[in-house]
């Protein structure tokens, strides 16, 4: 088990390296002097000179990359061109909001999507299956930001039950998390249905029935436990998609998270913060994948002992 975790951790190294290269070259692909770009339009000559020195911009490019890496290792991404705060502080402050939204959304999506997928798989080609599969298809085809706005129209403007945006109470998170959940629930429903249909037709399901077990036990204990592996894979993948969707959802609901931060930073050409946010998103993704892999090992004994 320990070896498995270690192996898994090591395999993230190339991706980490790739992300660092991406961030490094991103800046250098921009037209103009990187120091000027990082400092922003309002910066003084002095600031620019400081940054140039910090980044070692007068040195050869691989030395620059070395400097970049060592700063990255210390999570030093410079200062925001807008607020002059350290980037890491800006990003860190927004992270909990995005995580809260993402976790709420993925929980909602699983709470609805997994049961819906199971019901669809148990009663395939019935009206309820058609209902759930159509809903899934609609969810995948719907622009999140539009859904968000429509929910605002209905629940905030017409019914006036929930706030249209911002943070504060639990009420503020209802609409954003539903919006974001609608986006991923579709994928979860689809994969749950597909893998449950698969496991329900497996021989061990017939074996379980032949023992006289109740259908509920057959479905939950025997079929679902096997179906969980692809489901978890998709939930993990969807977490990434969800972070992408969070950019839009956060904008719709003025939710002060990382998504909002990156959009504002792009609009303001605040490149240090853009870099920082991208880095965090990449790290989050790696982390989620790691968790997913550990969950696999927990669920599937074949992986645990492999």
């Amino acid at each position: 088990m320990f070896q498995y975790i270690l192996k898994r951790l090591l395999s993230t190294l190339p991706v980490l390296l790739g992300i660092s290269l991406l961030l490094f070259f991103m800046l250098r692909m921009l037209p103009g002097d990187p120091a000027q770009v990082l400092a922003g339009q309002m910066a003084s000559q002095e600031d620019i000179k400081n940054i140039r020195q910090q980044l070692g911009l007068d040195k050869p490019i691989f030395v620059q990359y070395g400097i970049f890496l060592s700063r990255l290792a210390k999570l030093d991404l410079g200062r925001s061109a807008r607020t002059q705060n350290p980037v890491i502080k800006e990003v860190w402050a927004r992270l909990p909001n995005t995580m809260l939204l993402a976790v709420a959304a993925i929980t909602l999506a699983c709470l609805f999507g997994i049961p819906a997928g199971i019901i669809s798989a148990v009663r395939p080609y019935t009206w309820i299956d058609y209902l759930f599969t159509s809903m899934a298809l609609f969810g995948i085809s719907m622009p999140v930001f539009w859904l968000g706005l429509m929910l605002v129209v209905i629940f905030s403007i017409i019914l006036q039950w929930l706030p249209a945006g911002g943070t504060g109470s639990w009420k503020h998170i209802v609409l954003p998390s539903f919006t974001l959940a609608a986006f991923v629930v579709a994928f979860i429903t689809r994969i749950t249905r597909a893998s449950m249909i698969e496991t329900l037709s497996q021989d061990y399901t017939t074996t379980a029935r032949s023992k006289g077990l109740k259908e509920r036990v057959v479905i939950i204990k025997h079929a679902l436990k096997n179906a969980l592996i692809p489901i978890i894979t998709v939930v993990g993948l969807q977490f990434g998609l969800l972070l992408g969707g969070a950019v839009l959802t956060e904008t719709v609901f003025a939710w002060p998270g990382l998504g909002r931060l990156i959009v504002d930073s792009i609009l303001a050409r605040d490149y240090p913060v853009i870099q920082g946010t991208i880095l965090i998103f990449g790290l989050l993704y790696i982390l989620v994948n790691l968790v997913v892999d550990l969950l696999y090992a927990y669920i599937d004994p074949r992986i645990r002992y492999a």
């Binding site: 706005l149 129209v153 994969i191």
Partner: protein, 296 residues
């Protein structure tokens, strides 16, 4: 893990009958859905082609006297904050969205397919390099990748197409590489190689046709995603810029008038929804017809 299990199942006869029934049923049902998807796409294509006939006049010419009007006979879907017909802008917007969808998929195909073929066919260091790059790009949600690229390239139609297109490249690489790996081992490919056929010829004549099915499916689904992504960028103000009529940007500007004139944001969203639905339905249908192994 799951696949190996699947292949080992020796199915009972009853189960064969059972699953065959389901497959056929699904095919019939899905094909109806796919047909509907195709019709949706066709409608959008016709609207895009006939835009000047369907809506004579300039969809971007402001008419401030008529701003934010509710739907009426003159403007069936109402007007926006600058008094422009929303229907007209949606009609012209279909040109923009279809252009983006096609452009994005072209970028994905022209960059992703060759890289996937090379990666799968040659293996070794080339494969390793391409795969690590793909891993890195896949570490970001597609939309975020497009956003990051916009941050570098800047806004506008062309950059939207490039950014969204590049964000889809890794998906094509993965897909094509996987198929290439399995086709490569087939006897006829080995025979061709033994006969001294040039690699390029093998790739184009023998391998490419075999990966066409998944590429076609992915292309249909990809067009739907492209429209969603581009609209998302437009909504954030980071995509196609006004006054070009683009559905996402229309929605974005309608957001400010949500309270009194919700129709401004509503209708462009419906236009996006049905376009994406069309591509998703036909993608699902294609998958059923072309590639039964493919699930989900």
């Amino acid at each position: 893990m799951h696949e190996t299990l699947q292949t080992q199942v020796i199915r009972n006869p009853h189960r064969q009958a059972d699953s065959q029934l389901r497959r056929r049923w699904a095919k019939l049902r899905r094909n109806k859905a796919a047909l509907f998807g195709g019709v949706l796409i066709l409608i959008y294509l016709i609207i895009a082609l006939l835009a000047p006939i369907l809506f004579p006049g300039n969809p971007s010419a402001p008419n401030l006297m008529k701003s934010l009007e509710r739907p009426s006979l003159e403007h069936p879907l109402g007007t926006d904050e600058l008094g422009r017909s929303i229907l007209g802008r949606i009609i012209y917007g279909s040109r923009v969205s279809l252009l983006i969808a096609i452009g994005v998929v072209c970028v994905g195909l022209f960059v992703g397919v060759p890289l996937g073929l090379i990666s799968g066919y040659y293996g070794g260091k080339v494969d390793f390099g391409i795969q690590r790059a793909t891993d890195t790009l896949l570490a970001f949600p597609g939309f975020l990748l497009a956003l990051a690229l916009v941050a570098v390239l800047g806004v506008g139609l062309k950059n939207t197409i490039i950014s969204v297109g590049i964000s889809m490249v890794p998906i094509y690489i993965r897909l094509v590489r996987g198929c290439t790996l399995s086709v490569k081992e087939q006897t006829y490919v080995e025979a061709a190689r033994a006969m001294g056929t040039r690699d390029v010829t093998i790739l184009i004549r023998h391998i490419l046709p075999n990966v066409m099915a998944p590429i076609t499916i992915q292309t249909s689904l990809g067009m739907g995603t492209a429209i969603l992504f581009a609209a998302g960028l437009g909504f954030l103000g980071l995509g196609v810029q006004p006054p070009t009529p683009e559905w996402g940007a229309m929605l974005g500007s309608g957001r400010a008038y949500l309270f009194n004139s919700p129709h401004v944001a509503t209708f462009p969203g419906i236009a996006i929804f049905f376009a994406v639905l069309g591509f998703n339905l036909s993608g699902d249908g294609l998958r059923d017809i072309l590639d039964p192994r493919f699930k989900l």
